[in-house]
Symmetry: C2
Subunit: 128 residues, 2 copies
Amino acid sequence: MHQPAATIDHVFHALGDATRRAIVVQLGRGPASVSELATPLPISLAAVVQHVQVLEASGLVATRKQGRVRTCSLIPNTLLEAERWLAQRRALWEGRLERLEALMQVRTSIDHAATTAPVDAATEEEPA
Amino acid sequence: MHQPAATIDHVFHALGDATRRAIVVQLGRGPASVSELATPLPISLAAVVQHVQVLEASGLVATRKQGRVRTCSLIPNTLLEAERWLAQRRALWEGRLERLEALMQVRTSIDHAATTAPVDAATEEEPA
DNA sequence: ACAAAAGTCAAGTCGTTACTTAACTGTTGG
DNA sequence: CCAACAGTTAAGTAACGACTTGACTTTTGT
């Protein structure tokens, strides 16, 4: 029970910031201290601490302090939750597409086994 | 070439906002006009238009205007790109874990085929 | 014991961003 | 033709979020 209310909302909000994503990338390569995370970044240590706090609150990273150094590591399961959220939207959408294609196929084969449907044309903006 | 510079940065920034995620959820169920998207939301139509613009710039949604109604739809491939970004961080991390576990297993089986490692204890903060 | 290292905390600044209202354009049904 | 509809644009406001600085705490190496 380290991150009590780690909602999808917090996760995507945390990932919405480029610096925080850079931190996540770095942590992908393995655990790191706050200072190590700060070194390649063009911001102050204090700012990095704040980012780490956000990431921790979101459930994306876990931290553990030993002596004076706080070591941060990724929580893969939270990454997975975000993946699943996206995958679900996509699945719904693609499910729709498939059903629609199926319908179309029925339609065209019933109508008059015709010329492969001209469903395209201009992809952008119609003037009038 | 509808969304010229649709970077991962734009995608995650777009997903960082709760209202925009709500729109994405809605679009998961199928295409919708701007007004339809606005109906369940507690904000003005103009605000929704702005969100749709952000989503379109990010490559997450495509829109097409016919007459006076603009119809929005998801672009599943962009969702997929975000998924992949997350999956890649996770894969790296989990790869590390596996290698580490492998090492541990070698160590323990060499050392003295011993009692299943007591690697746990307190999970949070060490005082001193 | 002391100085440097590694964070932490609290204000405060400043830019960004979500949102509103209002005026406006194009579209459609009657 | 005209009223309502669907959306767009612009300008402004208000809140939020990222970042800084500076003071402070705890830990560690010598």
